[in-house]
């Protein structure tokens, strides 16, 4: 049941026939796991908080650094040195006190991933490295919950939504390990990709629209082009072939 304050706060999106009060109540009852409070995680968590998703668990083990501030918009100059999740939690709680924001400053690992995501409706991939992305992809498949992938580099980004057992997963396209490196990026790129991921999350939670499944959306901000690549499940995929 939505309160009078919530009806007012979310009035403009409740006006949308695809959402309405029923959709807003679905958002309110939802529990979303966000892996990462950086360039992607900041706008994702801001927009899901603003939209009224009831419960967010945000996990990130880093502290805020000055070099983060060109893109990680949940963190401000005075936050340098603080834990990212605490910095994000403070802003998000002020943005929308109706939303429960859990801030966990831990490293996602093989040992804790399953326990961290247990009880959540979906996983949002806002990580900055491939090994943890694959770990989360595997964990999403184990828990049979959707996985919302996004990644960026420079002016480029990509997004894809994984429905375990039904659509291609991140590992379906795996060729082998890729060396890690410090990636260049300007804040507008993760903002674009994060908003696509948040859009997908909202659509999934409300049960509307067509998801970005079996489709990899590639964005190039330099020439402002979106390219959609079709992808398919890999029958030999070591993460999802058994489903």
């Amino acid at each position: 049941m939505l309160t009078a304050e919530e009806l007012d706060r979310y009035g403009r999106q409740i006006l949308m026939p695809q959402i309405g009060e029923e959709g807003q109540e679905k958002l309110k009852k939802s529990r979303v796991f966000i892996a990462g409070a950086g360039g992607l995680g900041s706008p994702i968590s801001i927009y899901l908080t603003a939209a009224g998703v009831g419960h967010l668990r945000i996990v990130d083990h880093d502290n805020v650094e000055l070099t983060n501030l060109n893109r990680q918009v949940a963190h401000w100059t005075a936050d340098v040195g603080r834990r990212k999740v605490e910095s994000a939690q403070e802003k998000l709680s002020k943005l929308n006190p109706n939303v429960t924001i859990e801030a966990l400053s831990v490293t996602i690992s093989e040992e804790n991933a399953s326990g961290l995501v247990a009880g959540f409706d979906l996983i949002v991939d806002a990580m900055d490295n491939l090994p943890t992305r694959y770990l989360l992809n595997k964990t999403a498949i184990e828990h049979r919950v959707p996985f919302f992938h996004g990644a960026v580099n420079g002016f480029e980004g990509r997004a894809m939504t994984v429905i375990p057992g039904k659509t291609a997963c991140l590992r379906c396209l795996y060729r082998g390990p890729v060396p890690e490196s410090k990636f260049p990026v300007i804040g507008v790129t993760p903002a674009v990709i994060a908003c696509i991921q948040a859009t997908e999350v909202i659509k999934y939670l409300v049960g509307i629209g067509d998801l970005l499944s079996n489709r990899l959306l590639a964005y190039n901000g330099l020439n402002l082009k979106f390219t959609e690549f079709k992808v398919q499940r890999n029958p030999q995929c070591e993460h999802c072939a058994h489903l």
Binding site: D128, L130, R158
Partner: protein, 102 residues
């Protein structure tokens, strides 16, 4: 553009290869290269023949694709066995790179 050699029936086979941003440093900014070849692998080798400095960015030392490279044929993932995929006149290959940043 590399001269067309023609397919088994003597027809010329032209394939457009769209190059990822990071590869355009080797082509003077050229985004698309038109080459011939009967497979994705042949087409990519012909691109490299035209722009040899690109080789280590696409291929690993064992001649396989570098792990970071993704190949799409007519906007469809060519994975796995990308290099062996047959191509026909008018096909379009996209060479892209996996992204990991967030």
């Amino acid at each position: 553009m590399i001269p067309m050699e023609g397919d088994e029936e003597g027809r010329e086979v032209a394939v457009k290869v769209n190059l990822h941003l990071t590869l355009r440093q080797f082509t003077n900014g050229q985004e698309m290269v038109e080459v011939d070849g009967k497979t994705v692998g042949e087409c990519l080798k012909n691109v490299v023949r035209e722009f040899p400095a690109m080789e280590s960015s696409i291929f690993a030392k064992n001649g396989k694709l570098a792990n970071v490279v993704e190949i799409y044929l007519n906007l469809q993932s060519a994975y796995p066995n990308e290099l062996a995929r047959p191509v026909k006149d008018g096909d379009e290959i996209h060479v892209t790179m996996m992204l990991a940043g967030g």
